[in-house]
Symmetry: C2
Subunit: 183 residues, 2 copies
Amino acid sequence: MTLQYVLLGFLNYVPSTGYELKKLLDNSTQLFWHAELSQIYPILRKMEADGWVEAHVEPLKGRPDRKRYSITDTGRQAFRSWLSIPVDTIEPEKNEVLLKLFFSGSLDTATVLAHLRLQLELRRAYLQRLQGPTRMEVAALIQATGQHREGVFWELILDYGEEQTKTAITWLEGAIQRVAQLS
Amino acid sequence: MTLQYVLLGFLNYVPSTGYELKKLLDNSTQLFWHAELSQIYPILRKMEADGWVEAHVEPLKGRPDRKRYSITDTGRQAFRSWLSIPVDTIEPEKNEVLLKLFFSGSLDTATVLAHLRLQLELRRAYLQRLQGPTRMEVAALIQATGQHREGVFWELILDYGEEQTKTAITWLEGAIQRVAQLS
DNA sequence: CAAGGCATGTAAATCGTTACATGATTTA
DNA sequence: TAAATCATGTAACGATTTACATGCCTTG
């Protein structure tokens, strides 16, 4: 269900092909939503059948025809209606790192430490990327599109990712200290 | 796949029924893993067929027989092997609150603020629960079971939940300030 | 000339939720 | 006496991932 609205949200900016939508997902919402092409193509067809989007076929030589989808008025209405419904729960998460840590009583201290240190490295690299390239790209996009109101939300989301990542890093550093005392 | 190991992890402490495992999930791992009974029962049968667990049937009057599952040596081996494999990625998340915020350029400021304020309330209530009752229950469980090594991990996980929730609250407060300036 | 990008899709399998079904016992 | 708990499960649906399939064009 939700993926439909993600795609509508992008199509609300600009008509796109499935392939382009996949890249938009990878380049902008990967922090909080992702999908594979094999999921995107059937959903676009379903939304076309439901009258939420329209396809304009551009024949290509040697490749499958390019289908560029535009949002319809019905689709725009469905999108806005979805957007206006508040999320009134804290969404349950799945986190395999915490899960393994939870059961790590059965694991030797050295292995637990190795696992935590690996996560620490990954998070540090991720933070670098968020603070550097990602931050720049968002700023450039706001300049290029002139979407200043949208830009406020995009930057807030980046802030969220940055703060949560920093918190995870600090926690991992402390956890490593604490676990190291076990041996 | 993963749910198998979650169940094995609990069965590694004590033989349990599907119904009891569901309650263990709800009361301890809901922060990072959850499942419905309709998923748990078939998986227990599958693990029995694979020789990872054994069922001891206790007939009951008027109810379905109670099946208490114990972990086997094979199951214990599979569990330890899973546990020792490091998680070498940052797992992608789905977050509908961020998703809607991302597209909130199409939404009026008052509605965005209402959505953010609702999330702030939810997070604050959640933090109260983590700091109060949940913290106590974990401490009591460590005392009752004498699992002091495990207890370190359980408390670290609680710390993580607390810190991430605090970060979310601070971010929401700032986001509300920032969005309020838009109108 | 090899690798990666462009461009579409199908098939199979897995994972997860919601609804349905039963019916006694315990608690408020 | 109504609601919640105990105790198992099936069926249907929906969501998601992985593997398979084609084949040209562009870049290094």
